[in-house]
């Protein structure tokens, strides 16, 4: 059950997004969203004093976030003098058939007046959104984001392979699944490339890893050397291939249909790869920008982050984490570690939960509002 959008996509949520177009407008965007029910703010640290490549990335990411099917409409909060091309972002979002309002702080006359104006336009959109009802939607409208974080020994054994089974079920049902975290491919990129639907796409995967490594090398860091770490070896990991396969097991067995830049909206159904680092603020934003309407996030020690307008399902295979972090964890697959549940059974349970959450069941991150510290992945320096 979802919200059918005019562009044919399906929302699993129906928020009005209050998107800050530059770090300097965050305060106003946050204040507006706090005062209007049915809205959520997306705040970040970018949008000014950056290289052209990064400004273009801010423009593209905000445009695509605004097009995410979980948003009914968008209010852009702009300072006025930033580098972000606010009118282009607004036009791009409008082209997907959504209402867009823009509030410019320097034109409106300061924060107090801008908050007031933002609240008024947000109320209007939120009321319109509230009259929409969920309708029965096919599973092929799902765009599932895959993520793991704060991993431990359990991650590669229980939640990641189980999520891989769930991801395969989404793909079999005609949906889309998005794998990011390119840094985690290192050492197993040649194996992942074999899952590509053709050699060209396989080569693109290997090139993505090389680009990520070269970026780290440009500041003197070798992110491949020293893997697996001494601690990994003590924990039972033998080779870098094994370590990386444990992370990418969450993508299942489906063939990789395409490779995309950060936040780019997939044109194919099935499993796709998106360039992204693994850190939460950047990858969750990237997954939301590429149109994910639900995200499954496996964790060992307990990563708390969600995303403002995309439900993030937290799955752990660590019984201790499940019991201690009840306000953050959604699903417990520790039965796989204890031998009381098989991987296929755990995978089916994750798939069922993805369907329930997509139909409206709230995740712990949504209930607690642990969704605010987000950012956009930048490649160049701040100037």
């Amino acid at each position: 059950m979802g919200y059918q959008r005019t562009d044919g996509k399906v929302g699993t949520r129906n928020y009005v997004g209050i998107l800050s177009t530059v770090v300097c407008a965050n305060e106003v965007a946050d204040a507006v969203s706090r005062q209007v029910q049915g809205t959520v703010a997306f705040l970040h640290q970018q949008g000014c004093c950056q290289t052209p490549v990064d400004i273009e990335r801010v423009n593209a990411t905000l445009s695509r976030l605004g097009q995410n099917p979980n948003l009914y409409g968008v209010v852009l909060i702009s300072l006025g003098c930033e580098s972000t091309d606010v009118s282009r972002v607004a036009e791009t979002i409008e082209s997907s058939g959504k209402p867009v309002e823009v509030v410019i702080i320097q034109e409106t006359g300061g924060a107090a007046r801008s908050i007031a104006q933002g609240v008024l336009v947000a109320q209007k959109l939120a009321q319109e959104a509230s009259s929409m009802a969920r309708t029965s939607c096919p599973v092929d409208g799902l765009v599932l984001g895959l993520k793991c974080g704060s991993s431990d020994t359990t991650s590669g054994l229980a939640p990641n392979p189980a999520l891989g089974i769930a991801s395969d079920l989404v793909v079999e049902a005609g949906g889309t699944s998005v794998l990011g975290e390119v840094t985690e491919f290192i050492g197993a990129e040649h194996l992942l490339a074999k899952h590509a639907k053709n050699p060209e796409i396989g080569q693109q995967i290997i090139d993505l890893v090389e680009r990520m490594e070269n970026r780290a090398k440009s500041v003197g860091a070798d992110i491949r050397g020293g893997q697996p770490t001494g601690g990994n070896i003590k924990g039972g990991l033998t080779t870098i291939e094994e370590k990386s396969l444990g992370a990418i097991a969450k993508a299942g067995n489906a063939p990789i249909q395409a490779v995309y830049e950060y936040g780019e909206i997939p044109q194919e159904k099935g499993l796709v790869v998106m360039d992204s680092p693994g850190r939460e603020p950047e990858i969750l934003t990237g997954l939301a920008a590429c149109g994910c309407n639900v995200i499954a996030f496996t964790t060992g020690r307990g990563a708390p982050q969600g995303f403002p307008f995309v439900p993030v399902i937290k799955i752990t295979g660590n019984r201790n984490t499940w019991e201690k972090l009840q306000d953050h964890m959604d699903l417990d697959v520790s039965g796989v570690m204890e031998g009381t549940e098989t991987l296929p059974a755990a995978g089916k349970r994750i798939y069922q939960d993805i369907l329930e959450v997509s139909s409206g069941k709230l995740t712990k991150a949504e209930l607690s509002g642990y969704t605010k510290a987000m950012d956009i992945y930048m490649v160049g320096p701040v100037i």
Partner: protein, 96 residues
């Protein structure tokens, strides 16, 4: 049956143990919905692997249905499979 170790994919030739296991235990190993018992010939700490069949020197080590390395010596069924008898095909961090 309580499971002691897990093969992520049926084609794997190593299983990862879910708690500390001891030499001469008959470990219950799951592979998807299937199960089998394998006699251990060494102690295997939590999170470590053992061979589910004899693996000859130079043979590939399979976990997640993929090649994670190569046997540097023969590994008997039930023996600890780790850095003392497996090498990466991609270079190994602790030797770099």
């Amino acid at each position: 049956m309580r499971i002691d170790a897990i093969m992520i994919k049926r084609e794997d030739n190593v299983a990862t143990v879910l708690r500390d296991l001891h030499c001469e235990e008959d470990a219950a190993v799951s592979a998807g919905e299937a199960q089998e018992r394998i006699r251990l010939i060494e102690d295997i700490p939590f999170g470590h692997k053992f061979a589910v069949c004899r693996i000859n020197q130079g043979e590939q080590i399979i976990k997640y249905g993929e090649v994670i390395g190569r046997a540097t010596q023969s590994i008997d069924q039930g023996a600890h499979a780790h850095i003392q008898n497996i090498e990466s095909l991609r270079g190994r961090g602790d030797l770099d």
